[in-house]
């Protein structure tokens, strides 16, 4: 079972990297705003495997993206965002699963990502006003997060036979 988990984690991470790259080649409406489809796989890892694996998928994705683009700024942003996101999603999923549906857990993850991302950006640029950018990011993050959560739900139903996701 352990090996299987490892394989699935790896596959999910690979998927996440590819989606990440694919999104990177699409034009962004505003800097920092994107669907974040890669998060589908972190979410899947969380549901199918567990917290450890979710963090693993997130970290692998962030670092591979960095290796491929060499963009330090993006690395710091997505590292902070990804860790925040994985933490918040894991916390809600483990503790308050009954109160939240999957798409909204994903939205919470997206918000956490946005907060992490903007905090790093504000630190790096050394300009507190960058924090104001959180508002459009949250709005976009809500939509994107919801879609991502919905996609994850769909994939869950296909990939693993799940018993206790029902919403």
């Amino acid at each position: 079972m352990k090996l299987k988990n490892l394989i699935i984690t790896g596959s999910l991470a690979a998927f996440a990297v590819v989606f990440n790259m694919f999104e990177g080649s699409l034009p962004m409406p505003l800097p920092g705003i994107k669907l974040g489809a890669a998060n589908v796989f972190s979410l899947l890892a969380l549901i199918l495997l567990g917290v450890k694996e979710a963090f693993a998928v997130t970290l692998i994705r962030v670092f591979l993206a960095w290796i491929m683009t060499g963009n330090w700024f993006a690395l710091l942003c997505s590292l902070a965002g990804g860790l925040m996101s994985a933490t918040v999603m894991s916390f809600i999923y483990i503790k308050y699963r009954d109160d939240f549906s999957l798409p909204w857990i994903s939205v919470a993850g997206a918000w956490a990502f946005n907060v992490g991302q903007v905090s790093v950006a504000a630190l790096v640029v050394n300009d507190i006003r960058v924090l104001l950018y959180i508002v459009p990011l949250l709005a976009a993050g809500t939509a994107a997060g919801w879609v991502v959560g919905w996609l994850a739900l769909l994939l869950c139903k296909r990939v693993g036979s799940l018993t206790d996701i029902n919403s």
Partner: protein
């Protein structure tokens, strides 16, 4: 897909944030000025200095020297102009206030260009 308790709470939080920032932004853009701009002062192809221009700024004056020649500049209230020049044609003074992104004033005798940064509607101007 029905919404759960937590979902509704999150939606509520989002709405509050959006409405609040909408109100703040709306009042700000009504009372306060648009964003700040920067004027680049370039002599002989070299950037001498950047001057940030904000609405409501008090007047500032400074002089740019060039081989005995001189241009006096004045920046105020989000705009900048050459107010005095000892060159023969004084084109730069006639240019008046620069206030839109991409606006520029040129003093050929003193090899001076003052240009506001930002996106201009055109890529270049032929003259």
């Amino acid at each position: 897909m029905g919404m759960k308790r937590g979902d509704r709470a999150m939606l509520g939080i989002l709405m509050v944030i959006l409405v609040a920032s909408g109100v703040v932004w709306g009042t700000r853009s009504m009372t306060a000025a648009p964003d700040a701009m920067t004027a680049e002062i370039i002599q002989d192809g070299k950037l001498l200095q950047r001057v940030s221009l904000k609405k409501g700024d008090p007047a500032r004056e400074f002089a740019i020297e060039y081989k005995g020649g001189r241009n006096r500049l004045k920046a105020e209230d989000g705009k900048i102009a050459v107010i005095e020049a000892d060159c023969p044609d004084k084109d730069c003074v006639k240019r008046g206030w620069l206030k839109r992104p991409g606006d520029s004033a040129i003093c050929l005798p003193h090899r001076l260009v003052i240009r506001l940064t930002g996106e201009s509607e055109v890529d270049g101007v032929t003259w």
